[in-house]
């Protein structure tokens, strides 16, 4: 049931404080003081707001007109009807508020994933007492969800689409209910303390780059193209490298100073190296690496990751891949 489809207008109107940034307006600061970031929140008097909806305001006007009619025609029954509707109006305030009040709301999980794809943000609702809490709506810059809390611990999922890699403070979540009569809306904002981690958007490295790094005779269709040889890895020259290790043949061919480094670990593992993509902007390198990590994970091949200032030793498995992606996501020194 929809009373209130998410509209862009509404979202824009309420962007008092954008999360992660210090709010500049008075109301933004007040709101952030009032509703501090948290992963668990109990809705109640201190953090719920309630105001009439547009329909509720109209209804008040209607009550005024009805009262005026009653006065003008000296009609007792119209008075009675007006008071009755007014009482229902008032009851609406209480019921709408108590539909949310007392609910315990906690963050269950934030999915990690790639930049640009939807990440699920799971919120758990624990209702107090045996009462149903129907018609609770969640709004989020990424979307909306509707939930009727009937059982203990019901979960609502929202989708968050990270715009770029790295840790994201989530946009605030608006939790709203207009039940029972739609004359009032009770709402609160939730700023999650936890952040969502977005991996770099995976981009397949172009073939000619990859093929250049391979040892002679290596099949160019190998899935992990960063591999050079079983025991060696090609990397760009760094000051201090022994001159005899420089691949002079290659230098003569395409002018890149590459150094052959002895592989000391498991013969089957690969090294994915940030420095393996000379001349490529840093963010794109991370995207290439992300793609490579994914493809290695998919083939369950062990790999190591070298980033400037950090090394992840070779290993295999999803956990390792996630760790690699996290490092890529959090990597700070990307050059432009």
């Amino acid at each position: 049931m929809t009373l209130n489809p998410v509209t862009r207008r509404r979202r824009r109107r309420f962007s008092l404080a954008s999360p992660g940034r210090r709010p500049t307006t008075f109301w933004g600061r007040w709101l952030q003081r009032r509703l501090p970031a948290a992963d668990e929140v109990e809705l109640g008097r201190t953090n719920l707001f309630i105001l009439p909806t547009r329909e509720g305001a109209l209804f008040l006007v209607l009550l005024g007109i009805m009262l005026l009619t009653g006065i003008n025609y000296q009609n007792s029954l119209i008075y009675l009807l007006t008071f009755l509707l007014g009482a229902f109006y008032y009851v609406g305030i209480l019921q709408t508020h108590s539909n949310l009040s007392g609910i315990k709301l906690s963050l269950r999980n934030i999915e990690e994933g790639f930049t640009g794809s939807a990440l699920a943000v799971d919120l758990q609702f624990i209702r107090p007492y045996q009462t149903d809490r129907p018609a609770i709506d969640l709004f989020f810059s990424g979307g909306a969800a509707h939930i009727d809390v009937r059982d203990e611990g019901q979960v609502a999922s929202l989708a968050f689409i990270p715009p770029h890699r790295g840790a994201h403070t989530l946009p605030r979540i608006r939790i709203e209910s207009r039940y029972p009569f739609g004359l009032f809306k009770a709402w609160t904002y939730l700023w999650l303390k936890s952040t969502a981690l977005a991996y770099p958007r995976p981009v397949e490295p172009p073939g000619h780059l990859g093929s250049g790094w391979k040892a002679d005779g290596e099949d160019s269709r190998t899935s992990c193209p960063n591999r050079l040889a079983d025991d060696f890895l090609l990397r760009p020259y760094r000051t201090g490298d022994l001159p005899q290790r420089v691949q002079w043949k290659r230098f003569a061919r395409d002018g890149q100073m590459m150094v052959l480094e002895a592989e000391s670990r498991a013969s089957d593992s690969l090294w994915l190296d940030y420095d393996g993509f000379p001349g490529v902007p840093g963010e794109l390198r991370l995207s290439y690496l992300s793609w490579l990590v994914e493809s290695c994970r998919a083939q369950d091949r062990p790999f190591g990751l070298r980033l400037p200032g950090a090394v992840l030793n070779p290993a295999a498995g999803p956990r390792h891949a996630r760790e690699a992606q996290r490092r890529l996501a959090m990597f700070q020194g990307a050059t432009s």
Partner: protein, 680 residues
């Protein structure tokens, strides 16, 4: 886990909304039916049905051009048929038309909101015209149903069905005391501006003129005219002459009210007690809307309430047409309320049109010459009505130009209008000032004899004649009908007809007066319910409120009542707020703690003595001794609670606790105590 979450599909009206919305509308339409033109009611029902059908996709919605065309056509029809007059009544009918048109574009939830709001206002409009207890309750029910549809609209799926209605009823019960108090203390202001409620042409009951046929129509109507309660004993049936208006002008066919008579006012009577116990010699009339300004009163009484005025003829009037149920209070008065006849008035009350009824004129003048005095002449005339073969009938033979001549000397059959008209004509012809009085005669007792019920078929006409010399005299009430058909005076027409006298052969009498002991019994009670509803609820207005609160110390003014209202509302808000804060505080937010609280409450309600420091299991042992039959559920719950409270690795889940609690709740409160003595 995310199964409960559904994405919102924008713009659809949920199914659960349609049924209450449509039934609320039909319920609100019913009281309007008799006021609305037939085509309008039909259109309203059709558009509503159409809308429901298109909601369930039985047929396609009307496209916008068709809707516009329909709207245009209906508005044009309405305006052309109602162009002659614009009153609140036609405005209300137009309002129904707009509601009907709104049904054709009920697509989005927002439309439902607008629909509910205009229907709420339609409910208020209905109250302008219908104030009986049954329609009032129907309208209130309709409003509840409409709010039910709002609940479904804003996501009441959780509680659809009987549970939803039970909770609505519960809400109603909770707010009712507040509404009632507010109803009594809210200051009743005077009208801010005045718009006539109904078109001029509409009227009920007596009219300003009396052509004999009119009264026969009234005689067929069993509708209520007014109800009277007396402070002391009600007067004898033969004294219940409710004077309404004076018809003093005769044009040969019709007796009517002259212009001079209508404008005479004696002055306003001061406001006085409108409610409270009626004193001896006081009575109170609850008048149904007649759309005429006049009121009905016994001779020799004057008004106590300020809403009516006494005219110089001893009649009572409102300042504007009575378009709603009104109440006024009258008091016996020793003073003669009827103005004496001076020279000017004598001319008015003896005036007769030339060229009509020559026979009667000659006859009356002959009698006048023979009679010793006016009184003797009146006696002669009255005796003539009882001795000559006059017949009382509601269906007399039609008469021609000289209606009085034909009636007196040929047909000799008729009813009160004929007799009163003929006698007045004869008296005037003989030089005695006389006038026809139209009003009601009689009244049957309501439930427990609390009040008299006067119906339209009690309408009556009689004669007042001025007897006296130049020094003084008095108005004398003469009822020639009583001489012809005394039972008409002693009882009412209906009873007279039922006894087989007069008009018993005609079928309409029995059919319209709905007789039979069971039906009478029911009718009497329904009427009584309506009477008290109208007396204490509908009629609770300015005067009534003032006099009710006049008994309070300091006699609060309207402004004071306004302060009281504000204070009362603030009090309600404060109390409700405090209660809610308290509830919030005592409600543990942790679900396990909540069950622990339930557990202690459960123990306390069953009078199981526990000491601090006992674990739930120890307490359960005590409880199980009291409730041996429920041992399993008691111990089971306590064990689950114990686990949830003290053992983090416990397998007891909240669901398990909830289920066990449901079982525990079923343990009766006093089973143990009642059972143990019987076993011992």
């Amino acid at each position: 886990m995310a199964g409960a979450v559904s994405s919102r599909s924008a713009g659809a009206v949920p199914h659960a909304v349609m049924a209450p919305l449509a039934s609320g509308f039909v319920l609100l339409l019913l009281p309007q039916l008799q006021r609305l033109p037939f085509w309008l009611s039909a259109v309203a029902v059709l558009t509503c049905a159409w809308s429901v059908g298109q909601h369930y996709r039985w047929w396609r919605p009307l496209s916008k051009p068709w809707r516009l065309l329909l709207m245009f056509a209906l508005v044009v029809i309405f305006i052309t048929t109602h162009v002659s007059s614009f009153t609140v009544e036609t405005a209300a009918a137009f309002f129904v038309l707009t509601v009907a048109l709104k049904w054709t574009e009920l697509e989005r939830p927002r439309d439902v909101f607008i629909m509910v709001m205009i229907l709420c206002y339609l409910a208020a409009v209905t109250f302008l015209f219908e104030q009986g207890i049954f329609w009032s309750l129907a309208v209130l029910l309709a409003v509840l149903v409409l709010f039910g549809s709002l609940r479904s609209l804003s996501g009441g799926g959780a509680k659809a069905g009987p549970g939803a209605w039970r909770s609505m009823a519960w809400t109603l019960l909770k707010v009712l005391p507040v509404v009632v108090v507010l109803f009594f203390i809210f200051p009743r202001l005077g009208p801010l501006w005045s718009v006539p409620l109904v078109s001029e042409g509409r009227s009920a009951g007596l009219s300003e003129s009396m052509t004999p046929g009119d009264f026969a129509d009234l005689g067929r109507s069993g509708e209520r005219a007014f109800r009277v309660s007396f402070g002391g004993a009600a007067p004898a049936p033969s004294q219940r002459y409710w004077r309404g208006l004076i018809l003093d002008q005769f044009d040969g066919q019709t007796w009517s009210r002259s212009q001079q008579a209508s404008g005479d006012r004696v002055g306003r009577v001061n406001r006085s007690a409108g409610i409270g116990e009626l004193g001896a010699g006081e009575y109170e009339v609850l008048l149904e809307p007649s759309f005429q300004p006049w009121a009905y009163a016994l001779g020799g009484t004057r008004p106590l309430t300020g809403n009516v005025m006494l005219t110089e003829h001893g009649l009572v009037q409102f300042s504007r047409p009575v378009d709603t149920v009104v109440r006024y209070r009258m008091q016996q008065s020793d003073l003669d309320t009827m103005a004496p006849v001076d020279a000017g008035l004598r001319a008015r009350y003896t005036a007769l049109p030339e060229g009509f009824n020559p026979e009667t004129r000659a006859w009356a003048q002959r009698l006048a010459a023979d009679a010793a005095s006016d009184s003797a002449l009146i006696d002669t005339l009255m005796t003539m009505f009882s001795e000559l073969p006059f017949f009382y009938t509601l269906q007399p033979a039609p008469t021609g130009t000289h209606s009085v001549d034909e009636f007196l000397f040929q047909t000799r059959e008729g009813f009160c209008a004929h007799y009163a008209g003929a006698l007045t004509f004869a008296l005037r012809a003989a030089g005695i000032p006389a006038r026809v009085v139209a009003g009601y005669l009689g009244g049957e007792p309501g439930l427990n004899n609390d009040y008299l019920l006067v119906r339209q078929y009690d309408a009556h006409a009689w004669v007042e004649a001025w007897v006296g010399g130049p020094s003084g005299g008095q108005w004398l009430r003469l009822d020639p009908t009583a001489m012809v058909a005394p039972e008409r005076v002693q009882e009412n027409w209906r009873q007279a007809l039922e006894r087989g006298e007069g008009e018993s052969a005609t079928n309409w009498a029995r059919r319209d007066y709905a007789s039979g002991p069971v039906l009478d019994w029911v009718n009497l009670r329904l009427d009584a319910a309506n009477y008290y509803w109208q007396r204490f609820v509908v009629d609770y207005q300015g005067d009534t409120q003032r006099s009710l609160f006049g008994k309070f110390p300091g006699a609060p003014s309207l402004a004071t009542l306004g302060y009281w209202t504000a204070a009362f509302l603030a009090g309600v808000v404060a109390v409700v707020g405090l209660v809610m804060i308290r509830q919030e505080r005592t409600r543990p937010s942790d679900p396990v703690m909540r069950y622990a609280m339930y557990w202690y409450r459960w123990l306390k309600r069953r009078n199981i003595q526990t000491t601090p420091g006992q674990t739930p299991l120890q307490q359960a042992e005590l409880a199980a001794r009291e409730f041996p039959r429920h041992r399993a559920s008691v111990i089971g719950f306590a064990r689950a609670l114990n686990g949830a409270l003290y053992n983090p690795e416990s397998s007891a889940t909240l669901q398990d606790l909830a289920q066990r609690w449901q079982r525990l709740k079923k343990v009766p409160r006093s089973a143990g105590r009642r059972r143990s003595p019987s076993r011992a």
